[in-house]
């Protein structure tokens, strides 16, 4: 050819050529490059090339959501929710999805280890036979009152095993605790339920059928109690009914992810939530006409307006909404309960439901049913009870401490002194799966399997009105030389002999679990039925649990609720600083997600910050203090201090600063250690009347440090008000 090809024509030809090539190369079966790897010994129901799905329970928090885990050639590849499980009905949260990152985490404890309270994981191996002997000797040679078990929040089969063991031999009952139960203020909810509704336990708030929802601090779309169940309920409230869309009002001093979904977000003064509830109660009672119940008779609405900062118009508008609603639901939680007056606040809010007769009916408040084989509600320890436990440790009242499923050195505020108290316990044995702070501070680590490698069952404390047990089974063969803690305790008890062996006369963990399920075999109205225990267990595994088909409608009585005069003490705040400090559980990390890169990479829903801790500060406040985005500041309370970079967040009160909880680890693997800071470090020993930590009851000083640390954010660096454009102050 004598003429040159133009650029355009060249591109046309090249593209045509490329397209032709692409089409032609697709002509052969690509599957010939696939390889099938059968196992050495494959279960009969597994076929090569096909995924096998197992039903199990998520162990990332205590909610007890059911999972279906997809495995391929022996490896777990995807987590989805179990559509039949009444708690989550097929949905999962981010932490549930990321549980695979725990299973295949590079920093798992791979074998029983003689840790010797060293600063790093020693990897000094111990044979399992020796480990069992150590546990047996510890149980045998210690005075029974000086043996202590510290377990995680979830009331699972291990809790039942240890409870049975403890009561059989006369040792103290196991103590359950976790950061989530601390920030959920479960003891407060239970006590308020007892005082107002007549029965201790976690109330269940039927969001799905409510038409007006007032949440006083409860972050039910994030980590509160049973987030997946409540998120589903919220979705149903909004879009489940074609004739009506529920109205949602959130009272919170910062705009959390939950508040961001509200129709109205009321940033009231921290500690005045209960007052606002009482004022609303009075206004609603007035709007409805008739006598004002004693509960709301003594409140002065104008005073509430002044103290809380909520205008009278707003209060009257909300009261009008509530008075006209068919199922107005008031939910207490979060920072409202983490105050010195938290119990009174919870009572006031629950009484609001009693006032509108929204108890025990769709869209109202119920009492969470007990699990089918549960005798009574056993709640996790309150923060106050943990201080008693720690005092016992300090006084030498604990000679052997077993820790499983909780990381108190990190999860408890430093002011509790758990770390120091460990020094007074001669033998600390951890069953941790990961090298977290508490595991490293132990004498031995006898690692448990990961949740996805474990048998068991769990009782969801709330989230559904159907009494249920959520079942767990291994979805993969355990990768490392770990052993189920229940198996370790059973084997050690057999080794120890005597009363211990009698207390746990089981072959292994599965034998124990089957024994516990036996009482369900004959029960009517179940999700499945079976003639005897072996068939029952097979179905239990296949379905991922057993639940009653019909809901247990325990309607709490309203009579006593309104009869007593409710009164609210002013919230007390500790410390001299000018800012209210609000720690909140990171909605992406939860209490234990910092070692999972998926969660670290997940942008925080309101700030989009990843891989770090930040301090949320109102831009006006920051402007006054000459603080800009990414400036590292020191947060000083009377209990301690911590540093974090600042994130200018307009949706927070100017007198409040907030910090997510979840980072600030000093151990726990390569993704978590040395990253961010822990807001629990500035929390002091202040409790509400129910014994829960007044975690939102601290006032702090903010001091600039002169350093900056850029936060990695998904959003634009320009910021909401153009702060990042570099405007002058």
């Amino acid at each position: 050819m004598s003429k040159n090809i133009s650029r355009r024509d060249f591109l046309k030809l090249a593209t045509a050529g490329a397209a032709t090539t692409a089409v032609l190369t697709g002509c052969g079966p690509a599957s010939r490059y696939v390889v099938r790897e059968p196992y050495m010994e494959m279960p009969e129901y597994t076929y090569n090339g096909l995924s096998t799905y197992y039903a199990t329970t998520c162990r990332e928090c205590a909610a007890g959501c059911g999972l279906i885990v997809r495995t391929m050639q022996g490896r777990a590849i995807k987590v989805e929710g179990n559509a039949s499980n009444p708690v989550n009905l097929g949905k999962t949260c981010a932490r549930g999805q990321a549980t695979l990152h725990g299973l295949y985490n590079p920093d798992r404890v791979e074998k029983p280890t003689k840790q010797g309270r060293s600063a790093t994981l020693t990897n000094d191996p111990v044979l399992w036979d020796d480990a069992l002997q150590i546990v047996a000797d510890a149980l045998n040679n210690t005075k029974l009152s000086e043996i202590a078990f510290l377990l995680g929040t979830a009331p699972d089969h291990l809790f039942d095993l240890v409870s049975d063991l403890a009561s059989a031999i006369g040792a103290p009952a196991p103590v359950r605790f976790g950061a989530l139960s601390m920030f959920d203020s479960r003891a407060t909810l239970s006590k308020a339920s007892e005082n107002i509704l007549g029965q201790a336990g976690l109330p269940f708030f039927d969001l799905a059928n409510a038409d007006v929802v007032l949440s006083f601090g409860a972050n039910f779309l994030e980590t509160w109690l049973s987030p997946v169940a409540y998120t589903r309920g919220f979705a149903k409230m909004r879009r489940g009914n074609p004739k009506r869309r529920g109205h949602f009002i959130q009272f919170e001093s910062r705009m959390s992810q939950t508040a961001a979904k509200a129709d109205e977000w009321i940033p009231l003064l921290p500690g005045t939530e209960g007052l606002v509830a009482l004022a609303l109660g009075r206004l609603v009672a007035e709007a409805k006409g008739g006598a004002i119940p004693r509960a709301f008779a003594s409140v002065n609405v104008d005073e509430v307006v002044t103290r809380s900062g909520v205008s009278l118009e707003q209060l009257e508008h909300i009261a009008a909404l509530v008075a006209q609603a068919q199922a107005p639901l008031a939910i207490p939680g979060g920072q409202a309960l983490g105050q010195s007056n938290g119990l009174q606040t919870a009572e006031a809010v629950i009484a609001l439901n009693a006032l509108t007769e929204n108890l025990g009916k769709p869209g109202g408040v119920f009492l969470s049913p007990l699990a089918p084989n549960e005798d009574a509600y056993h709640r996790p320890a309150s923060a106050q009870e943990m201080t008693d436990f720690i005092a016992k440790m300090k006084n030498g009242g604990v000679k052997v401490l077993f820790v499983h499923g909780v990381n108190p050195v990190f999860e408890l505020p430093k002011s509790f002194g758990f770390d120091e108290a460990l020094g007074s316990v001669p033998l600390v044995i951890s069953f941790a799966t990961f090298p977290d702070e508490t595991a490293l501070a132990s004498d031995y680590i006898f690692p448990d399997h990961h949740g996805l490698e474990s048998w068991g069952y769990q009782r969801p404390a709330t989230g559904t009105m159907q009494p249920m047990l959520s079942g767990a089974q291994p979805v993969v063969v355990p990768s490392f030389d770990t052993r189920a803690t229940a198996d370790v305790l059973i084997a050690a008890a057999q080794l120890a002999g005597g009363k211990l062996a009698e207390a746990l006369p089981f072959k292994d963990e599965v034998d124990f679990i089957q024994g516990k399920l036996a009482s369900l075999v004959g029960q009517a109205d179940g999700s499945f039925s079976a003639p005897e225990i072996n068939t029952f267990t097979a179905y239990f595994q296949q379905h991922g649990g057993w639940w009653r088909n019909s809901q247990e409608e325990t309607a709490p009585s309203a009579a006593s609720a309104l009869g007593k005069s409710l009164h609210l003490d002013a919230a007390e705040f500790a410390g001299e600083g000018e800012f209210f400090f609000l720690p909140f559980v990171s909605p992406t990390l939860g209490e234990a997600g910092a070692n999972k890169p998926w969660l670290q990479e997940l942008p925080d829903p309101t700030t989009t910050v990843m891989w770090n801790t930040w301090l949320e500060m109102n831009p006006e406040t920051a402007h006054e203090l000459h603080i800009e985005n990414d400036d590292v500041v020191r947060i000083v309370s009377e209990a301690g201090e911590v540093e974090a970079p600042v994130y200018l967040y307009p949706a927070i009160r100017p007198d409040v600063v907030a910090m997510p909880f979840g980072q600030g680890h000093t151990a726990y693997g390569r993704f978590a250690a040395g990253r961010g800071s822990n807001p629990a470090d500035v929390l002091g020993l202040h409790f509400n009347e129910a014994g829960d930590l007044a975690f939102a009851g601290m006032k702090v000083k903010i001091e600039p440090t002169g350093r900056t640390q850029p936060l990695s954010r998904l959003e634009s660096r320009i910021g909401v008000y153009g702060e990042g454009l570099g405007e002058e102050h």
Binding site: D9, L24, S31, R32, R36, Y39, Q73
Partner: protein
């Protein structure tokens, strides 16, 4: 510009060039398609001829055929169950590969042969339930050395048999030839 190209192609030089290009493309395509129809190389030269000839049933190693989509492959233990008792296992060079895999606890990376594209949802179960034998589609395995397909398993071949099995039954014919039966 297109006109220029056409003019050149019509010229004698162009015609020869076009012919050469066409021939080479054709042979390339033919070779490519030929390649794709060759049985793939397997990690162990397992001969069906010997094993089926000994009387081992298809479903012994491929149990999933009875129950669902994928017939499955034998696990290491299934092979080793017999082979550990056979003296030749430890003498033969070909079987040394098997021994190595077993001793190192490694999976044998079999390459699947009777594959259909992903958009075809083929299940064995209804075919066995209809009374077909394995050799109807997979051929007489007593004659097959390394696993290969006796014929191309394309849609035309499937439909031929489907139509034949339906016979006069109109409802069955519709069910067996509907697109959604296999391409759902």
């Amino acid at each position: 510009m297109v006109r220029k190209i056409i003019e050149w192609v019509i010229s004698p030089m162009g015609r020869i060039a076009a012919l050469i290009t066409a021939l080479s493309l054709f042979s390339l395509a033919a070779y490519g398609i030929y390649q794709t129809q060759q049985p793939p190389e397997q990690p162990i030269e397992f001969t069906h001829k010997l094993h089926v000839g000994l009387g081992i049933q298809c479903l012994y190693c491929h149990p999933g055929a009875l129950r669902g989509p994928s017939p499955g492959l034998p696990t290491q233990n299934k092979c080793w169950g017999c082979h550990q008792q056979i003296a030749k296992t430890f003498e033969s060079e070909k079987l040394a590969v098997l021994v190595e895999h077993i001793q190192n606890n490694e999976p044998i990376k079999w390459v699947p042969v009777a594959q259909v594209p992903d958009f075809v949802h083929f299940t064995h179960r209804p075919h066995i339930a209809a009374g077909l034998n394995c050799e109807n589609c997979h051929g007489d395995m007593t004659q097959v050395e390394i696993a290969e397909n006796p014929q191309v398993m394309n849609m035309g071949w499937c439909l031929t048999c489907h139509k034949a099995r339906a016979g006069d039954d109109e409802e069955k014919l519709i069910k067996l030839t509907d697109c959604g039966t296999c391409h759902y």
